[in-house]
């Protein structure tokens, strides 16, 4: 089939339109951050004199770096822990499956269908009794558990693509299970593991429900930082937008830098 010029043009316009619709709220948030509060609630316009007023205001009210650092700790900490648990689990499911492996995988994923609010009270009480409220460790544990089903599921599909023969050759060569994982499995599925890790970082970074409910100040990550600007005095759109921009900027840059890795990982099986 020969795609004509017009067809390609139409496709391009459609693609760009969809992209724009998806991207628009982020663009608007970014622009609003550079407006004054009055401009922010005035009739929408693309033309205004940008000001850093809001950024100055939010910086004087809260220590951005305190929240950002918490986000980094929690997102990367939980990802590391999830991979640490996920890799051996996915290994055994992919290479030593039993009759119940498929069922177990589905069951794990089904836990993601439960609304988190359903277990909020018990988890809150457990955390209170264990003294884990408003601690980074507490948040890391919750995020790890939250992401583990997805992490194991993704790793499982990547591991499944690795020819079993390679691991068996390793076993013949004298590799123990942990050497097999360390010297063969991990290096050979690194793109997949990396994209799984990146997804886990992004999911943890953007998580708001648990961070708002389980932290207040000491361990509060950037999501809590944004929320703190929807204050009792009312909504200040410009400041809220500026704070949001500050909160998403690191993960956006991170995602952009690792884009290649992400795409490579997500198409790992297909192009091998």
């Amino acid at each position: 089939m020969n795609t004509s010029r017009t067809q390609r043009l139409v496709l391009a316009v459609v693609a760009w339109s969809i992209t724009f619709v998806i991207f628009f709220p982020i663009l608007w948030m970014f622009l609003t951050g550079f407006k004054t509060e009055a401009q922010a609630i005035a009739d929408p316009t693309l033309f205004f004199t940008p000001t850093l007023e809001s950024y100055a205001a939010i910086q004087s009210r809260a220590n951005y770096f305190h929240f950002a650092l918490n986000s980094v700790y929690v997102a990367f900490g939980s990802t590391l822990l999830a991979l640490l648990i996920g890799i051996p689990s996915a290994y055994s499911m992919a290479f030593l499956p039993t009759k119940r492996t498929k069922g177990t995988l589905l069951w794990m994923l089904s836990t993601k269908m439960l609304p988190p609010v359903g277990v909020l009270v018990p988890i809150y009480l457990i955390f209170r009794d264990l003294g884990m409220l408003d601690t980074r460790i507490g948040l890391i544990v919750v995020y790890t558990l939250m992401n583990l089903p997805i992490v194991i599921w993704m790793l499982y599909t990547f591991f499944k693509d690795l020819p079993k023969d390679i691991l068996e050759a390793g076993r013949m060569d004298g590799a123990s299970t942990h050497q097999e994982i360390l010297f063969l499995l991990i290096p050979l599925t690194l793109p997949g593991i990396a994209s799984t890790g990146l997804l886990s970082v992004i999911l943890s970074w953007n998580e708001a429900f648990w961070s708002l409910n389980l932290t207040s100040s000491r361990a509060a990550p950037l999501t809590a930082y944004i929320a703190s600007f929807s204050s009792p005095e009312g909504l200040f759109w410009a400041k809220l937008s500026a704070a949001s921009t500050m909160a998403v900027a690191p993960i956006l840059i991170f995602g952009w830098l690792t884009q290649k890795q992400m795409v490579r990982g997500l198409t790992f099986g297909a192009v091998k």
Partner: protein
């Protein structure tokens, strides 16, 4: 020294019985080939010997020691996989040295051993390459090198040549035979290709549906197949089978009535056969000869001229008979031709498919590879081997 005994080795997966009690003896420095159609259990048997799969019952004994519970790496065996199974992220040198690295062998010593194996396989210029930069044949050699480096008591090969093209396969076959001699090692080789089995084996084990059909030297299997399955499986092109009836039997052989009406006396043990009993006559395409006086007649349906030889596919009633003739035959397609055979070249099978035993053993059926036997005698006499 490396011998292997299997006693009643069986394997079942859930409800399917993959191996039904295999008994086998592999002698020191022997090249044993497991051959059979796909699904016959030959690869499973090899994997059980390797320790990658556990036997449901039975004993696996290497050098007199039962190794059922020993892990794959500690059995002292090395395996070459059909897919090569090289480690794609390591160089050729690291691939070959991986087992030594795991065993904690020092860098210098590792290097020496890898170099030595690379020399044997002519891989020296490729040591720094990654597997993806190698051709199929080179990858196969690296896989073999990885096995050599481990200095195993028994080499296991799982259809190692099936991913190579025809020309390379012939070359690797020769190379493997050379390696067997140079390394003086016991080798067990799995294939579905009877040509590989015939050309390389000291001993062939024919498997079907999880059972050993026959064990013997290539010539023994070719000349004295125990049953119809082995007769059809060994030899290329395949043996022809004709329905015949026994008309008389005495100590000189069995007289049979051929489809065209002729009579022939096949020199096999057939006392006790009653007249009129249905039998099957097996005769190899290369043992059929064009003969105007011959007892059989067929019409040429296809004629393949290979130059030195001509394959004739003859329609005889409903059956298609293959006949290998000289390259210079002048017949054409659709010609009606008569043909026959020497009775001592023919085989007879009873209703169960079992062969009636030949009265005379073929002189080559006891043939073993002379050179390697002599070599092993010599090396046994060497004093350093006693140490």
């Amino acid at each position: 020294m490396a011998t292997l005994q299997l006693t009643q080795v069986a394997k079942r997966f859930d409800d399917t019985e993959v191996l039904k009690g295999i008994d086998l003896e592999v002698n020191d420095r022997e090249f044993v080939v497991f051959v059979g159609p796909s699904g016959c259990g030959k690869s499973t048997l090899l994997r059980i010997i390797a320790g990658l799969e556990s036997a449901t019952s039975g004993d696996i004994v290497v050098d007199g020691e039962r190794i059922n519970e020993v892990g794959p790496a500690d059995r002292g065996l090395a395996m070459v996989f059909q897919s090569y199974a090289l480690y794609p992220h390591m160089t050729v040198e690291d691939n070959m040295g991986f087992s030594l690295r795991l065993a904690g062998v020092g860098k210098a010593q590792r290097r020496d051993k890898v170099r030595e194996a690379a020399r044997i396989l002519q891989l020296e210029p490729l040591l720094d390459r990654k597997p993806k930069a190698l051709s199929g044949g080179q990858r196969q050699r690296v896989a073999i090198g990885r096995a050599i480096v481990r200095n195993p008591s028994i080499f296991l090969f799982d259809e190692p040549l099936s991913n190579l093209d025809a020309a390379l396969r012939v070359q690797m076959r020769i190379e493997l035979a050379r390696l067997h001699e140079e390394l003086d090692a016991t080798m067990i080789y799995v294939t579905h290709d009877q040509i590989e089995a015939m050309t390389m084996a000291d001993k062939i084990v024919v498997l079907q549906a999880g059972e050993v059909e026959q064990v013997g030297s290539p010539m023994e299997l070719y000349h004295h197949p125990r049953n119809r399955f082995v007769a059809g499986f060994i030899g290329s092109p395949k043996m022809n089978f004709l329905p015949v009836t026994a008309s008389a039997a005495d100590s000189d052989g069995v007289e049979v009535q051929l489809p065209g009406g002729g009579q022939r006396k096949v020199p096999v043990k057939g006392e006790g056969l009653s007249g009129g009993e249905p039998l099957e006559l097996g005769i190899r395409p290369e043992h059929l000869v064009l003969d105007d006086e011959g007892p059989l007649e067929g019409r040429i349906q296809v004629l393949e001229r290979l130059g030195g030889q001509t394959s004739l596919y003859l329609k005889m009633g409903e059956q298609l008979i293959t006949l290998m003739a000289d390259g210079d035959v002048e017949h054409r397609v659709h010609d009606l031709v008569r043909f026959g055979f020497e009775p001592q070249r023919a085989h007879l099978f009873d209703a169960e498919g079992l062969a009636l035993e030949s009265l005379q053993r073929h002189p080559l059926s006891r043939l073993v590879r002379q050179d390697s036997r002599e070599r092993s005698e010599n090396s046994r006499a060497r004093p350093e081997d006693d140490a």
